[in-house]
């Protein structure tokens, strides 16, 4: 899995380089090269032997088999959602739209203004989406990429858990994580949180491997994995101090701490330099003043408790109740372990968990449980470890609760994803599905009757207003990142009034459902 992560990291940076060079027309050959390399990775005998060995063990244990069946069923339900058209707000706003704009322009550039400010941030996962959109413009392949990161995260968690638990315990931790509703919901959308989760689990796994075997390569690889997580989302920065302290705790060598720091930061460095060159701030838009007060750091410790329990009390995205049910036991177990000073490996895992949770509390609470997602695997693992060390009664309760919760969540996700079935099997048209399910009052866009496609005919369009332009199947320039350029044929508005300077433009189409109006620019240039 580490090989896969490194290959993906190299590929993402190559796409970034290709885009900056303005040669995105080479994206297809580059992606095909990646497919060949990944194919080479897939035919490795070692991997299939490990899978076969795993299966042989699982089929001997009925409970393990049942847990695997729950995981498999959840993956099947998630796959249904992943195969349907994209509806996720942030995916339609920027995770997919920015790569689409880059493809239309054939290059990567900074999109200034108040709509696509995310374009200055590291976008490793969006580089995969960019490559996928060249083959699958509707975004299905991009959704499948994020879905795959969910499966990879569960597999990475299983291997991490095997360090501390037997087969059944490791499977409980993996199923507890994978059947959580937030994982199910994220698996069907082209967001980036599951890819960050994958890289963060590998960073922790490699770190623990280093702390046991003391091979420096493991520590450097852990730093690189954290760097990749940072290249996906800057919030991964909160994990860095935790790893630095742990490195010092384990080695007492400041040089190793410095090396970890350098190896971590060197990976997202191209993104940070690019952002500095374009905006003067390596972590734009953070500290730029463009974000509202909800994005400020939470430095009041009194707010942390409230924020923590907001994950459980009517949250935006529910997480498994098992985390809360066993929380008192987890805290009690950790305190006892620290007092008794035993099992240093577990102690490090617990310190990591405490540290990243503290970091999470300081993080602006704008993403709900999405921001907790990268740390849910270690939470699942610690819960199972603590229960394994307790009484037979608690082991039974955990197993029953994991099965019950997986069943409830599976049913809930199946109901939520049911709407995708008709469109996947071809009983409902994609247009009809999107017309019914997109939220045009909240900035979504779709050409519901195909008239725009006929009228515009692949000409360039100047877009005013609106918010989520992923489904714009024509090349466009949005008012937020560019002023009007003479030569553009049309102006498209959504929920916006045409500025006075364009009053000479002639309205040729309007749609009350999608709130859009299309104007033809005066060919003699009197409008601009």
């Amino acid at each position: 899995m580490v090989e896969l992560a490194i290959i993906l990291g190299i590929f993402g940076n190559l796409v970034f380089g290709l885009g900056l060079w303005g040669k995105l027309f080479l994206i297809k050959p580059l992606t095909l090269l990646l497919a060949v390399v990944l194919g080479g990775l897939m035919v490795q005998k070692k991997m299939w032997l490990a899978v076969w060995g795993f299966w042989k063990k699982v089929k001997k244990d009925k409970i393990a088999l049942g847990l695997l069946a729950f995981g498999g069923a959840q993956a099947g339900v998630n796959l249904i959602g992943a195969l349907g058209p994209e509806l996720g707000f942030d995916a339609l706003w920027y995770h997919l739209t920015i790569p689409k704009i880059y493809l239309q322009f054939g290059q990567i550039f900074y999109l200034r203004g108040g709509l696509y400010y995310y374009s200055a941030m590291p976008k490793l996962t969006e580089m995969f989406y960019l490559a996928s959109l060249a083959f699958s413009p509707a975004g299905t392949l991009a959704k499948l990429i994020h879905f795959s990161f969910g499966l990879l995260s569960a597999a990475a968690l299983y291997y991490l858990a095997k360090r501390y638990l037997k087969l059944r315990g490791a499977l409980i931790a993996a199923v507890m994580f994978y059947t959580t509703l937030i994982v199910g919901w994220e698996s069907i959308s082209a967001y980036v949180d599951l890819s960050r989760t994958f890289f963060e689990i590998l960073a922790l796994d490699l770190f623990l491997r280093w702390s046991e075997k003391r091979k420096p390569a493991d520590l450097y690889e852990s730093a690189i994995m954290l760097g990749l997580a940072l290249s996906v989302k800057l919030l991964a920065f909160f994990s860095l101090p935790v790893f630095l302290i742990l490195t010092f705790w384990k080695s007492h060598k400041i040089q190793l701490v410095l090396k970890y720091f350098i190896f971590t930061l060197i990976v997202p460095l191209p993104w940070l330099i690019w952002s500095t060159l374009k905006t003067g701030n390596p972590i734009y838009p953070i500290f730029s003043g463009i974000l509202d007060q909800t994005h400020a750091l939470v430095l009041n410790p009194l707010s942390w408790g409230k924020e923590f329990f907001s994950f459980f009390i009517h949250p935006q995205d529910p997480i498994s109740p098992i985390f809360l049910i066993f929380l008192p036991l987890l805290i009690f177990g950790l305190v006892k372990m620290i007092k008794e000073n035993k099992n240093s490996g577990l102690k490090k895992l617990s310190f990591y968990f405490g540290g990243v949770m503290l970091g999470l509390m300081v993080t602006p609470n704008t993403g709900g449980a999405r921001f907790l997602l990268p740390y849910l695997p270690v939470w699942s693992l610690l819960t199972v470890i603590m229960v394994e060390q307790s009484t037979r009664f608690l082991k039974q309760v955990l197993l029953v609760l994991v099965i019950l919760t997986a069943g409830v969540n599976l049913g809930y996700r199946a109901l939520a994803n049911w709407k995708f079935v008709p469109v996947i099997i071809g009983r409902q048209s994609r247009t009809d599905f999107l017309s019914r399910n997109l939220k045009f009052d909240f900035g979504d866009f779709y050409d519901v009757d195909g008239r725009l496609d006929q009228l515009i005919n692949h000409d360039w369009v100047y877009v005013i207003g609106g918010h989520n332009w992923f489904y714009a199947d024509f090349p466009f320039v949005h008012e937020s990142f560019s002023s009007f350029v003479p030569g553009l044929g049309y102006i498209l508005t959504q929920n916006a009034i045409l500025p006075e300077k364009f009053q000479g433009a002639r309205e040729i189409y309007a749609n009350s459902q999608t709130k859009i109006r299309l104007y033809l620019i005066n060919p003699f240039g009197q409008n601009d």
């Binding site: 409970i63 638990l165 037997k166 059944r168 315990g169 409980i172 459980f312 009517h314 529910p318 109740p321 809360l324 049910i325 394994e388 060390q389 037979r392 009664f393 608690l394 082991k395 039974q396 309760v397 197993l399 029953v400 609760l401 019950l404 919760t405 409830v408 809930y412 109901l415 939520a416």
Partner: protein, 42 residues
């Protein structure tokens, strides 16, 4: 580590009864919340 044993609950003390009550309460809230969300959505 020891094996998990299945579905053979024997309450031996008050702590276990209290834990079961706590688990039912939290799980009940969770399922109730999901049902309400589901009714609102579908």
């Amino acid at each position: 580590m020891s094996k998990f044993l299945i579905f053979n609950f024997k309450f031996s003390n008050k702590k276990e009864i209290f834990f079961i009550a706590w688990a039912i309460l939290i799980f009940g809230f969770y399922v109730g919340d999901l049902v309400l969300r589901g009714l609102k959505k579908w």
